[in-house]
């Protein structure tokens, strides 16, 4: 799939540039919350800047975002609050940056989670993507650094990937502002329910463990019928994650 946004799509309904208003740090009275997650050094802050018009410091080294940055944009009359999370490789351990990211996706209940991945290192990045998709099913995959992937002769079948993951996939080169209009439109569609995601669930789990998870998540669903990530809660309970055990007790997960 070619990605020549600015030249071809100028007249398309997707290219609704007039409906976009970058609001910078003006984040009062928002309608939707959007989290930006992803591996370190995949360009999360660049995507964040492109969406909000802010100039959060960016740089080519992992772990640069240490402060949770917030900003906002308005699209089609709806206000979106954006939260730039620290980059992590996984959500399974308990280091501080991972907890910040995990807690926000889990307890902050963002309306949309944009997962930014490095297109030329997709396989490695999918590790985090699959974990996030266990927590939330309102997600958009932002396939960033497409320019680099193209330079490295890496092609990605966007449709196949979107079908496999069950969430929309938007190719971007945030550094060059390419694909950002489509990304905004997609975020809008997921937030307003125009696009319903059916996010991927981890399959290669060995039989014994799978049975235990099933049993536990059935119990959780029985108790909390509204919960959408019972399976992930089961993962964490089996791991003995005290933060999650506490959250169950205090009813934070409902």
């Amino acid at each position: 799939m070619e990605n020549k946004v600015n030249s071809v799509c100028g007249s398309c309904s997707q290219y609704n540039i007039k409906g976009l208003k970058k609001l910078g740090v003006n984040i009062s009275n928002f309608d939707f919350v959007v989290a930006i997650a992803g591996n370190p050094n995949t360009g999360k802050s660049t995507v964040f800047n492109a969406l909000t018009g802010l100039r959060q410091h960016t740089g080519n080294w992992p772990g640069k975002t240490v402060v949770r940055a917030e900003g906002a944009f308005e699209y089609d009359g709806q206000k979106f609050k954006l939260v730039d999370l620290p980059g992590t490789y996984s959500l399974l351990s308990t280091s501080q940056d991972e907890e910040v990211a995990r807690n926000f996706i889990l307890f902050g209940k963002p309306d949309v989670t944009v997962i930014v991945v490095d297109a030329s290192r997709l396989e490695r990045n999918l590790n985090l993507v699959l974990q996030i998709l266990e927590i939330t099913n309102k997600a958009v995959l932002c396939l960033n650094l497409m320019d680099e992937a193209n330079r490295n002769n890496i092609k990605i079948e966007i449709r196949t990937l979107a079908r496999d993951l069950g969430i929309p996939v938007v190719p971007t080169s945030a550094r060059f502002k390419e694909g950002i209009p489509e990304l905004i439109q997609t975020i809008n569609d997921v937030a307003t329910g125009k696009i319903i995601c059916k996010s991927y669930r981890i399959k290669n789990v060995n039989g014994n463990i799978d049975k235990a998870i099933k049993k536990l998540s059935d119990e959780i669903e029985k108790e909390i019928p509204t919960i959408s990530n019972s399976r992930w809660i089961a993962f964490r309970l089996l791991e003995g994650d005290n933060r999650i055990i506490n959250a169950l007790r205090t009813g934070e997960l409902v």
Binding site: G59, W61, S95, N127, I209, E223, L248
Partner: protein, 472 residues
Amino acid sequence: MSQKSIEKIIALSSDLRWQIGDDFHDNLAEGIYADASEIAKNSVISNNKKKRFRLDTKIDKIVTSKTWGFPIMFLILGVILWITIEGANYPSSMLANLLLNNFHPILKTLAASIGMPWWLDGFLIDGVYLAVAWVIAVMLPPMAIFFPLFTLLEDFGYLPRVAFNLDYLFKKSGAHGKQALTMSMGFGCNAAGVVATRIIDSPRERLIAIITNNFSLCNGRWPTQILIATIFIGAVVPASFSGIASLSAVIGIAILGIFFTFFVSWALSKTVLKGEVSTFNLELPPYRPPRFWKTVYTSLIDRTIIVLWRAIFFAAPAGAVIWLISNIYIGDLSIASWTINSLDGFGFLLGLNGVILLAYIVAIPANEIVIPTILMLTVMATGIAGGEGVGVMFELDSASETATILKAGGWTLLTAVNLMLFSLLHNPCSTTIYTIYKETKSVKWTVVASLLPVIMGFVITFLIAQIWRIVV
């Protein structure tokens, strides 16, 4: 839902955990990897994808090699400094000329024409305005060159390689390898470096990184180093080598700072901050050609203007204080003279003098104003002609004029060397101290981080002064 059934779920989970055994975590992680690999196989098509990675690997082999890693690092640092020093000269003197020689008299005339009382005119125009003007003239040009160059290097992806090179040394010092990154940030601004330590998970290693960040020569201290090195170090060698000599002296001080970072990290981790060194994965990101103009623009707007604004914010009140202590008299001496006289004895022991010590007290808010404060106090204390009158901060047009004043104030090569050392080893500026408190939430560690370097500065300058006086 009831509390009882929640407890039932939790009890069930511990039962199941016991049943499935403790390889659950690894099993799950492996499952996720297997899924990821399947999905990627379905949608990624790559032809000879190794090609570019191979180029990156080749560059990495050189810049992180045992033989070339360090020389290349110092060469790059040297080139950036050289461009900064050389390039900043001309715009600096132009700005100084404009703000100090042209605009200052205009303001004075204006004040006189509206009949402003002498003390208000002195306080505002000779104190506040001159301090601000000096900071702009001296700081803006080097920052406007240094920050974009540094940001370009950062965007290119060189910083993680620096961290890679230094990792081994940090590990040896009992500190975290990521401290290399926070140390690099400190070369721009220590307050920023202290905030950046959040990337270090272990509280022990983070404290070490915070306490030692001050040994990274920050942007406010580079101009002092450069000026003193040019005047005194450059003067002891033949004229054709003076540029190289002063540049080497400045880089030498920066490297000494890195040495102290390792030394103090090691000492802390062997005494009050004992513990295991944590391991971490450092990803070497691909080299990315920086977007030149965009980088230049954003680093000018974001970093340069923000740092400059901070300097102005602190320089204005400091200028007012300097004017006040030089113009308020107790008996027949000004407050400034009293203080200088009483600090002179201690200053002599350190190979410095009372003027320098007082200047460092006045300049706690911002290191940038050390040199103009020293000059002004020297002129006042020694009563030599030059400058603009009592309590007026000024900058002389050429380094040689500055040298004349300093030498008249009794300065020797020892004073210069010790001033360069003391500029490296003294308390952090007030912004950094406040940032350290905000990050550590501990008065104790804030006090340690503030006093440790200044005590080290006293000890080292004292030792050097004694040895120097015996030998020379």
